[in-house]
């Protein structure tokens, strides 16, 4: 630590302290949950960020680069903590990184401690252990706009003096006061003399100290968040609350179908047009066939679904960023308790509607190990966004759109909603099965802070969508592209007399017809069989695979994917396929992440077999039931 911590109050124009410590290259953002760490991180790093995992543990690590006075600074966004007592995995990571004990992560040379200024007295408790580390720290009081609006105030220079560290009042969402943060990182903020800190193990002592510091800095807490209370009175109302939730969910599903449609049609038109252009441009050759049938047909049919997936992520992002998720966990706790889990398990399950992989990572907030494994095992039943292309394709091909509840809900959205419920039900029953047998345990306590409602920021939502587009397109450009090329090859071999065989006799056709007897009881033919095999990599690959197969087949080449699917499936087979996809664990990434999280192959193997068995049985029952009903 520098010896130059002798200058007085913080004056923003102060020259750099003499003999200052070298300018920081690695900066960590630390703060309690809901203090605005990620918003600040996004503000500082913008698009120059990436999400990875801390080595050896499951806690997500966000690293980014910030430009400060022409210099690059690495910013680490640490998980939210209330103290540095390593009680949960999150806290252990924060503790280890700050002590320089995390392998592969450089020890931070400076800390941005971000606290909620609307609840300063309690949040200041965290300042004691952080300042005790002796790393240069800027104490950031966030939510300045909220503090002002609700009539609170604080004397920032005085607070800095009583903390012995520079301080800044900012609003990360509005981008207000960030100049002080930049000045701090550039070493141009004066540092007050250090003060004596309380014994950090003693929570009541630390809280008393925080209260004293707040009083001396003339901290005036703001009026209670009336908007939050009004919203809670509505959203936690025993009758209106669940009703509002149901209406929102229904509207989301309807909009996934109706709002995304024009964008998807536009994208589809673009892909078809560019494919046609390519076909006219190139001479008749295997390369042309590979490009137009294999790649445009395969990758193109999946890329079309990007708008729908982004729309879903937008809705989930709004739910997460607004603070509603904590209320959902509260409402769900009693129901979750019935199957032996707790409300906190509900948060990862909700985010599994987007993707099971981050959901499984999010289970780290569950303290009980058995509850955590149970949540991991049921998360892939929640309908993830990769199922969406399969569901929409089949539903749109077989179910005519008719209004059910006026403009609010049509038949197609209702069918989609039904599939989501089916996944939820499977998750629920599985949880209850697990928690009453192999994962039985004592009831774990449920303690959850309810953050005030906040407007989600455009930047945070935008970054989420950008991130998701990148992941989706990367997958389309790697896994799906590879499958399309290999499949195209298999569908054109073996050559007989220099000519490609009819697809039924090709290698791909042979593979399909080999598995056909096993899937015939479900109402699937060999083409669907090939799709089921390729979709083991990722669910949406089946759409690309069917796109490639139909692209190669002469007679279906001209008709759209929907019409082609209608030729290959009966209505009973279509329902069976939907049920199969609702239950089966067709996702390499999920298998890999479950293996890593549970520390071995045992749980992913159990999960794969269980979900596969359920999918087969469910599809078999659905196929025969629908056949019986429609005969």
């Amino acid at each position: 630590m520098s010896e130059s911590r002798a200058t007085g109050t913080i004056t923003t124009a102060a020259p750099p302290p003499p003999a200052a410590a070298p300018l920081p290259h690695v900066v960590a953002i630390v703060g309690p949950p809901n203090s605005g760490k990620s918003t600040l991180f996004n503000r500082l790093t913008g698009m120059r960020q990436k999400v990875a995992n801390f080595p050896g543990v499951t806690v997500e690590q966000r690293m980014g680069r910030a430009k400060v006075a022409g210099r690059e600074v690495y910013v680490i966004d640490l998980p939210g903590v209330y103290s540095l007592t390593p009680r949960s995995e999150d806290e252990r990571v924060t503790h280890d990184v700050l002590h320089g004990e995390m392998e592969g992560v450089p020890k931070p040379e400076a800390i941005l401690l971000i606290l909620d200024s609307t609840n300063l007295a309690r949040h200041l408790v965290l300042a004691a252990p952080i300042l005790s580390l002796g790393i240069p720290t800027l104490v950031i009081l966030n939510m300045a706009d909220d503090l002002r609006a609700r009539g609170g105030q604080v004397d920032v220079p005085s607070l800095a003096q009583h903390l012995g560290a520079p301080a800044a009042l900012i609003s990360a969402t509005k981008g207000e006061g960030l100049d002080t943060v930049h000045k701090f990182l550039a070493g141009r903020v004066a540092v007050p003399a250090p003060v004596e800190l309380p014994v950090i193990q003693d929570v009541p002592k630390c809280r008393q100290w925080a209260g004293r510091v707040g009083d001396r800095a003339r901290y005036h807490p703001p009026a209670p968040p009336l908007w939050t209370r009004k919203l809670d009175a509505l959203l936690l109302h025993p009758v209106k609350g669940p009703l509002i939730f149901a209406v929102v969910v229904v509207a989301v599903f309807q909009s996934i179908f109706s709002w995304a449609r024009p964008l998807m049609d536009g994208l589809q038109g673009l892909i078809v047009a560019s494919g046609g252009w390519l076909e006219r441009l190139l001479p008749e050759s295997p390369l042309r066939s590979l490009l137009t049938e294999g790649i445009w047909g395969g990758v193109g049919s999946v890329v079309v679904f990007l708008p729908q997936i982004l729309l879903l992520f937008l809705f989930i992002g709004i739910l997460e960023d607004s603070g509603y998720l904590a209320r959902a966990a509260l409402i769900a706790d009693r129901t979750m308790a019935r199957v032996g889990l707790q409300g906190k398990s509900f948060i990862p399950l909700l985010s599994a509607y987007a993707c099971a992989v981050p959901a499984i990572l999010a289970t780290r907030t569950i303290e009980s190990k058995r509850d955590r494994i149970a949540t991991i095992l049921i998360a892939p039943f929640m309908t993830c966004s990769a199922r969406l292309p399969v569901y929409t394709l089949i539903i749109a091909a077989f179910l005519p759109e008719r209004p059910l509840l006026g403009p609010l809900l049509g038949t197609r959205a209702a069918a989609l909603l039904g599939l989501y419920l089916l996944g939820f039900l499977a998750a629920f029953l599985t949880a209850s099965l697990l928690k009453s047998s192999i994962l039985r345990s004592e009831r774990a306590p449920f303690v959850l802070e309810m953050p005030p409602y906040r407007w989600p920021t455009l930047q945070s939502l935008g970054l989420r969508l950008l991130d998701r587009s990148k992941i989706f397109l990367r997958r389309a450009g790697t896994v799906i592209l590879l499958v399309a090329i290999v499949l195209w090859g298999l569908a054109h071999l073996p050559l007989s007399g220099g000519k490609t065989p009819p697809i039924e006799d090709s290698l791909a056709g042979t593979i399909g017809r080999t598995v056909e007897p096993a899937i015939q009881p479900l109402g699937f033919n060999w083409k669907i069989g090939i799709g089921l095999i390729t979709s083991l990599a990722a669910r949406e690959v089946i759409v690309g695979t069917l796109g490639t197969i139909y692209g190669i087949e002469g007679d279906t080449q001209s008709v759209g994917l929907q019409a082609a699917v209608r030729k290959d499936l009966t209505i009973a087979g279509a329902v069976a396929l939907l049920v199969f996809f609702a239950f089966a664990m067709q996702c390499m990434s999920t298998i890999a992440v479950v293996r890593r999280e549970t520390g071995g192959w045992k749980w992913p193997a159990v999960q794969f077999a269980y979900m596969g068995g359920l999918a087969y049985a469910g599809a078999f029952i659905a196929y025969n039931l629908v056949r019986f009903l429609t005969s």
């Binding site: 209330y82 009541p204 706790d333 309810m450």
Partner: protein, 91 residues
């Protein structure tokens, strides 16, 4: 029957002994936490310290868990946990 029950709720013979006995809008002062060390530590960090004032707020539909206002924030606890946070008899 229903009416007399409601009356009994509003005219309580003794002051609330634990958090779980607080009705919505009522408050009490924490005396001590009779819970395992791990959860006691977590609750203290969230503001449930001896001497702090806790107000019962809304609950989830069905009455459990309930949200408590403590030290400037709102924290949800199940009844089984709230029943072990003892309140001072005089405040």
């Amino acid at each position: 029957m229903q009416l007399s029950f409601k009356k009994a709720r509003s005219r309580r013979p003794h002051p609330p002994a634990t958090l779980v006995e607080l009705h919505e809008g009522e408050h009490g002062v924490v005396d001590r936490l009779d819970l395992p060390e791990d959860i006691t530590g977590r609750l203290m960090e969230l503001g449930f310290l001896p001497g702090s004032r806790v107000t019962a707020a809304r609950s989830a539909p069905g009455g459990d868990p309930r949200v408590f206002r403590v030290d400037g924030s709102e924290v949800a606890l199940r009844r089984e946990t709230a029943a072990h946070v003892r309140l001072r008899s005089h405040h």
